[in-house]
Amino acid sequence: MRGYVAVLLVGILVFGAIASGCISSEKPTTPEKVEVSLTGDFVKDVVNIGKALESNGVNEVKFTVWGAGDPNSVMRVYGIVEAAERINKVFNENNINVKIVVDTNYVASFQQLFQDYLSKQPIGQAGDFFVNSYAFIPTLAKEGYILDVTEYAKAYEKELSDFYTPLMEASKWKGKLYGLPQDTEARPLYIRKDVAKCSGFDLTKLEEKVKNGEFTWSDVYAKAKAAKEKGCSEWGLIHRKGSAHPDLIQFIFAFGGTLYDENEDKLVLDVPAVYKWLYVEWKFARDGILPEDIMSWDWAKQIHPAIVSGNTLFDIGGTWYWAEWQTKDYYVDPKTNEPRGLKPEEVDAWFYYTLFPAGEKGQKPVTLSQPFVWMINSKAGAQNPKYDELKDIYQKLAFLMILKASDADINAIHSVISSHLPVRKAAEDLIKDEKWLNDLKNLNIDISSGVKAEIADIVKATVHPINAKFLADVSYMLEYTHLAPSHPKYPALADLFKDAVDKVLRGEMKPEEAVQFLIDRIKADPELSASVKIVGEVPKDWQFP
């Protein structure tokens, strides 16, 4: 009997729990949606949105911005904070009682932030703004996790025409725009001037020779070997490691290869180009010009100190190195034996920079970019009142915020303090403006006090005419840029490339064996195999250098 009573009680409990969720005393009503149209006049649009919010009883709009990167790149989130301040000012000037409040979340690992976004977006807990690599756009767009802003952007075509076209294209997926470019970079080949002088390497007009394809990787090999043999440096070449920053795939493009077939939406294993890349790596390592264990070197204790201390002639790096060498203590001062950052004058005096040379005669020089994009969560504004009615208003306000965050001065500030390249022409012009640069150095600029305080010490450490000149000098590289494929399976292929490079560098495999290793590994993974097209064959009688 007691058993029956227990079962009955449990049954009632379960029914009650289900019923409490299903039965509602109120009939569901469809909220009337409030909408505004974007006109292309920024102030007018902000005012219209502000009035719509105010008339619906919303006086405070909360947004969260998520961003990631190196410590100098905080404008990736502060840009949105500054945009909110500027829009609040417009509200104020037009007697609209609405205020935007922005919360920030900035971490070091952009891959980790992407994972976090993937898990939190479906439950409505991800940032309203997400600043991250363009490479994540296909995955996020496919899942419906980010907002398609194509229609909003049409109203601001004129403003957006100032942005560099390749970067706008990188922010699209299947023809739809999913954000606005935030920054980009190039990956120059750095050359130590003192080591070059010691080894008799004349740098005069080298940049032109690289641009014309006269100076190729065979020349890099010859000069690097000479520098080592003459005892001018310990190494001829140092390059980056890992697969997350796919710098080394520049070799594929430099040898005229490709990585992605747009028509078939497939990754490509371009066998001839990949073989040549691996051969160059193998040859450099076998001749002791490039450390065979570079793929396991420590960034802060080995890679950067080797470059800034002049232990190498060449370095395949990134534009952001320029600021990083000044803000991090990689250099041990021989006078004091204490580590310190380089001075702008030292970086300028010690390093020459040029495009990544052509692989061989007949090919072109290249560089590689990984633009960061300001994306908007498809649930942007969901934390705010009357979301169902005002969804359109919140989303349009979010778009106006990323547009404002792309103001030339905000973009130029970010570029100068982080050594990233500007995404629009107006920002590039500003960087070349000495008066503006001086004002920035003295923090005599029109940005909110909160943002000013947060970036003050970065500004102090990085703003310098030499750094601005560097940015202006390398901006042309974007004309030669390639982008890593924004394909969901690319990270898996990049991991295989990393393994293959490591194996040829260590001498565990010859280049042709490493190519076969890549083919075998691709075929062993059914998903990867379906996503990668293998083209061409290992070239016969190809010579390097």
Binding site: Y106, V107, D116, I123, H245, K301, P339, I458
Partner: protein
């Protein structure tokens, strides 16, 4: 010669001690390098003390929630510590409550399926939490409140219950051991005097197994404090573990700063183990007589 207790020869004892010390060296060195690095300008990656340059800047920055020495955004490290403690205390509380009740039932009551349940509990303990995560995530999505404002609170409750569920089987076994060690007569006399089962459990038995409860609380706390996968998957708010994970970027991060954060994260574990070593050893050697 026969003795009433097992006695090892001096030589064997020395050999065992040396072997244990040798086996502990890598672990000891790794933790020492971590702690030393947290007070150094440079990360210590080998035994050379040359790279050690004393500074307390890393700790100042970590406590201020700074990711780097220049600029950057301050993270609310106190809040993250509070979140971590909340999860840890929640897990400890839930595990202790459930295991104290179920341990008592399994120790004292004879019901159908008791033996099977005991075996099943052991089997459950063998399941790694990560193997269950897909199913646990599905339940999470199904039970998620529709109002976004409730999600954060719900995520705390969910992660506490989900993480506690992984600890309950072993804790129940341990608790059963503690109850088994209490003579049945003590409980019997109280029941004869008219006390209810629940009253006997609360007023008589629980005070007798206080050391056991403390041990289970401790295990539960450490399980919650150290967890990364469950808090990473379910908790909306960051904890110390997820904060460190998100900022452990080999290229950008100032590693000594991460070492300071790691040491901060380790502190409760070290303190607990140092202060309750005896208790834990006794627990592992088969329960404590109340």
């Amino acid at each position: 010669m026969l003795t009433d207790v097992e006695v090892r020869s001096k030589k064997t004892e020395v050999a065992i001690t040396i072997a244990i010390l040798m086996a502990s060296i890598p672990l000891f060195l790794a933790f020492s390098l971590l702690v030393l690095s947290s007070f150094s300008k440079e990360m210590m990656t080998n035994l050379s003390l040359e790279s050690f340059r004393f500074t307390i800047e890393n700790w100042i920055n970590v406590l201020q929630g700074k990711l780097a020495f220049t600029g950057g955004i301050r993270q609310n490290i106190l809040k993250y510590t509070f979140n971590t403690a909340l999860v840890a205390l929640g897990v400890a509380g839930v595990v202790t409550l459930i295991s104290a009740l179920s341990g008592y039932a399994l120790s004292r009551m004879n019901f159908r399926g008791r033996k099977f349940l005991l075996m099943f509990l052991l089997m459950l303990h063998a399941f790694p939490g990560v193997a269950l995560i897909v199913g646990v995530y599905l339940l999470y999505r199904l039970s998620l409140p529709s109002s976004p404002s409730l999600v954060t609170t719900f995520s705390f409750m969910y992660v506490i219950v989900a993480r506690a569920a992984l600890e309950v089987p072993m804790a129940t076994w341990l608790m059963k051991g503690f109850f088994d060690s209490i003579p049945w007569e003590i409980e019997w006399s109280a029941i004869v005097d008219g006390a209810s089962r629940i009253r006997v459990w609360r007023k008589i038995l629980l005070p007798l197994i206080k050391p056991g409860i403390a041990a289970i609380l401790l295990f539960g706390f450490l399980a919650g404090w150290q967890d990364l996968i469950y808090v990473r998957t379910f908790l909306v708010e960051p904890t110390l573990a997820t904060y460190i994970e998100a900022n452990l970027e080999a290229e950008y991060s100032h590693m000594p700063l991460i070492a300071a954060a790691g040491t901060l994260y380790l502190l409760p574990t070290i303190i607990f183990f140092l202060t309750s070593q005896k208790l834990l050893l006794e627990t592992h050697s088969g329960g404590i007589k109340g």
